[in-house]
């Protein structure tokens, strides 16, 4: 498929019709932006409540097989062995080389402070707000992080993909883009659009920037590979001035036939992580931390339709060359009925914000007080469990 509108083509044509995109103040500012810190952070919101027990399977727990019934995994059922107690869902098997290299890890039995009502809407809101309670703030914790860091420019943080990322919403400037916006108009239409936008500086700056972002060699994002386009776009930005990228992977709400319905979401997650690593290249991947979080876990027991319902404790995924992988972090609460939350859900033994907080601390150098008061107000980060290398 031809890309009629590459960045180079755009600049050349712009010059021909008497306007250089490089002269746009918006673009100049971006190209001169100094990176405030060097590490890279990718935050993935797994929307729909990922079943942590089916992804990182505690097959070594004596109550696991009985509690999980038909959904019981473990190496004897095709899962990949992790550490003798946990195994990895077979649909993530392609990630085992990352695990072996210490570039993939997990934190188990974590949750937000949200309890009891188990609403996706509320759960995601509190996960992205990073607060103890619902409705306490209107901005997201990644945005509050930016307000505390020096040298932040619009391109420092990118919200990517279709759908809103409240986690990055707030006062600090952030960029957003979805590779679905494929500005594949005829070259002549682009020239004419350039001409009409020139009449309005604000529209012109935004249009010029859009033209550059769309010209980065992305495909038209066919439905099946949309998540890979997002990952590639994120990686391309992170190779440049961008330091934080956030996007979503949906499809975790497996109320029925989970042995089938969970697989597409896991494959998207695996494909995303692999694509990030491949596109970032060894140097940038080496200073990258990826963290994937979900609003809550799912019930320990399976329901009447071969799936699981909304629960509490779940798992988070860590990846990247900057993290200390090859390890399932966290305190395991056990699966006997008395150890469950409300006798149905995995008991959370840690706040899902704490590992994220330690990553922010290590990657950006932001001090602990600012993280506990501003980024995650009310959080006690506890002891550093060594999530980073």
């Amino acid at each position: 498929m031809t890309r009629p509108f590459t960045r180079r083509g755009f600049l050349a044509r712009s010059a021909l019709i008497g306007c250089s995109a490089a002269a746009s103040p918006f673009l100049t500012r971006i190209s001169l932006a100094a990176a405030p810190w060097d590490a890279r952070l990718v935050v993935i919101v797994l929307r729909g409540a990922m079943d942590g027990l089916d992804v990182v399977q505690p097959y070594g727990d004596p109550d696991y097989a009985r509690a999980r019934g038909a959904l019981a995994g473990g190496p004897q059922n095709g899962a990949a062995e992790l550490d003798g107690f946990f195994s990895l869902h077979p649909a993530l098997g392609t990630l085992m080389p990352l695990w072996a290299a210490g570039e993939l890890g997990f934190v188990h039995a974590v949750s937000t402070p949200y309890r009891e009502k188990r609403s996706h809407f509320d759960g995601q809101d509190i996960l992205e707000a990073g607060t103890d309670t619902l409705g306490a703030v209107r901005d997201g914790w990644l945005n509050r992080l930016l307000t505390r860091l020096p040298g932040v420019e619009t391109r420092t943080a990118f919200a990517i993909g279709h759908g809103e990322m409240k986690i990055l919403g707030g006062a600090a400037p952030v960029a957003d883009w979805t590779p679905e916006v494929d500005l594949a108009l005829s070259p002549q239409a682009m020239q004419l659009a350039e001409r009409i936008m020139q009449e309005d500086p604000a529209f012109h700056a935004a249009f010029a920037e859009a033209s550059m972002l769309a010209g980065g060699g992305m495909g038209g994002a066919d439905k099946a590979g949309a998540h890979l386009e997002v990952a590639k776009f994120a990686a391309e930005q992170l190779r440049g001035d961008t330091r934080i990228a956030a996007f979503s992977i949906n499809g975790w709400d497996t109320h029925g036939r989970q042995h089938k319905t969970l697989i597409p979401a896991l494959e998207r997650l695996a494909g995303t992580l692999t694509s990030l690593r491949d596109t970032l290249g060894p140097a940038v991947w080496g200073k990258t931390a990826v963290v994937a979080m979900t609003e809550f876990g799912r019930t320990v027991r399976i329901n009447g339709t071969g799936g699981t319902d909304h629960g509490t404790g779940g798992a988070m995924v860590l990846a990247g060359g900057a993290i200390r992988g090859g390890k399932v972090h966290g305190t395991w609460p056990g699966l006997d009925e008395a150890s469950l939350f409300e006798r149905r859900d995995l008991m959370p033994t840690a706040d899902v914000r704490a590992p994220a907080a330690w990553l922010l601390h290590g990657l950006t150098g932001l001090d602990r007080a600012a993280i506990e008061q501003v980024v995650f107000p009310g959080l006690d980060m506890g002891r550093d469990a060594g999530f980073l290398r």
Partner: protein
């Protein structure tokens, strides 16, 4: 000094220029239109909230009809439940299309703009799968009939609506010392969410003269506001916190708890001078400029206070003020209004809409609006969508508008208009040489029409 002009009236205060419907002839005509019959609501109907509640109740029964002992019955009930949800999603798409047709064919564009403004000011949404489609019926019942009423009436209608009580957690708020709480400890306690947002967003404004104590007191007064099993409004004295509450220095309520006391407090909040200023400024920002003339805001505020919040009188000051007619065009249309005014410029017919398949609507309406940053009736939070132009003039937003403008109009109107004539139809006297040039020079009709719609002259108002 600038003054009324029909083109500007339709662009800035209405739904944009139409090739077939004449713009208003005077500000008086615009105001009279608000007080006349609501023809668009009749012609392009959207379910009332009562109809919606009937559906909700029936669907909840379906879901509860599951029998855990009998697998077959459970599967049947689940299938029926899923079908009800699918049907409702289709109905919801249909309501969005009705709203677009209202924008396209109204002779009273100012009314559609006010409905949109107040629906956003009083943002409410469903927080679970079943209630997610309730926004359009909420707006139809609790907002639309009140846009030319008094502000206190509008506040009461919106704040005590079942969807708002659900959205801002009032339904779970219980007076800690209420009869119900003393009987069952598990009921929980006070939830301040609605009380806070009423003060911060709906009435006084975030800078308003209220304290945390006022929020707490109002939350206590609100206990008892609830919804019944059929999702209709209910006032439950048993859940109300005993005793009177003091809000902004005034006492309300007592024993027994009565709904009238809640209404009295809402009325007083709605007529507070801080509210008058907050609402007047927000209207001026929405309709005129992100940085409105202070004289315009103070004139509106004064009329608000003089008339007990008579909204038509406040609109009258807005439309009568020279600052409201200042040129050039300024505010950027939010995506919903950009798409609506493009439909109007294209004169999309009800027959064409009736023939659209759900997939076509999702591809040509739902997804593009979300990519432009304004998913249909679904803002980020109770503060609604942003008013500031910068929120919309982003790389992604501008690119998504351009793509929509070039690709979607041909599906809305298979025989596109002649682009050279379309420049004048869509832009009136705000057409520029660059747009005329582009419309004549484009390779295809679709690109030509798209460039007219994507032009800053069409995007601003």
């Amino acid at each position: 000094m600038a003054g009324f002009s029909p083109d500007l009236a339709e662009i800035r205060f209405g739904c944009g220029l139409s090739p077939t419907i004449a713009p208003p002839t005077s500000t008086q005509a615009m105001l009279q239109g608000l007080q006349g019959p609501d023809e668009m609501a009749q012609r392009f109907a959207i379910d009332s909230y009562a109809d919606y509640e009937t559906w909700l109740t029936a669907t909840r029964h379906l879901r509860k009809g599951e029998d855990p002992q009998d697998k077959r019955d459970k599967m049947q009930a689940l299938e029926a439940f899923k079908k009800a949800r699918r049907d409702q999603a289709l109905a919801s798409l249909g309501w969005a299309m009705q709203a677009q047709l209202r924008w396209t064919w109204t002779g009273t564009g100012f009314r559609e703009r006010l409905v949109s403004f107040w629906a956003d000011h009083f943002t409410a949404m469903g927080k679970n799968v079943l209630m997610r489609t309730g926004v359009a019926p909420y707006v139809e019942t609790s907002i639309r009939p009140h846009v030319a009423a008094s502000f206190p009436d509008l506040v009461i209608a919106a704040v005590t609506s079942p969807l708002m009580l659900h959205y801002l957690d009032q339904v779970t708020s219980v007076g800690p010392n209420s009869r119900a709480a003393r009987r069952r400890e598990a009921l929980g306690g006070l939830n301040e969410n609605l009380a806070r947002e009423v003060m911060e967003l709906h009435t006084l404004g975030v800078g308003g003269p209220y304290t945390q104590d006022d929020v707490r007191q109002l939350a206590e007064l609100f206990t008892g506001l609830s919804v019944n099993k059929q999702s209709g409004f209910a006032f439950r004295p048993a859940y109300a916190e005993p005793g009177a509450e003091t809000i902004l220095g005034r006492r309300y309520g007592g024993d027994p708890a009565r709904l009238d006391s809640v209404h009295a407090a809402l009325r007083d909040l709605a007529l507070h001078p801080a509210t008058a200023e907050h609402i007047s400024r927000k209207l001026a920002v929405h309709f005129v400029s992100d940085t409105p003339d202070p004289d315009l805001v103070s004139a509106m505020t004064a009329r608000f206070l003089d008339t007990g919040g008579d909204l038509v009188k406040v609109y009258s000051v807005l439309l009568g003020h020279p600052a409201a007619w200042a040129e050039p065009l300024r505010n950027v249309k939010p995506p919903q209004h950009f798409v609506g005014s493009a439909w109007r410029a294209l004169a999309v017919t009800p027959e064409r809409v009736a023939a659209m398949r759900p997939r076509e609507i999702r591809q040509g309406f739902d997804r593009p609006l979300a990519t432009m940053g304004q998913p249909w009736l679904t803002p980020n939070g109770p503060d609604g969508f942003p008013e500031q132009d910068e929120a919309w003039v982003t790389p992604q937003g501008v690119a998504a508008r351009l793509l929509w403008a070039v690709n979607v109009p041909q599906t809305l109107r298979p025989q596109l208009p002649d682009p050279r004539a379309f420049v004048d139809q869509a832009l009136g006297r705000f057409a520029t040489d660059a747009v005329r040039f582009a419309a004549a020079a484009a390779e295809s009709q679709a690109e030509a029409v798209g460039l007219v719609l994507a032009s800053p002259a069409f995007q601003r108002r």
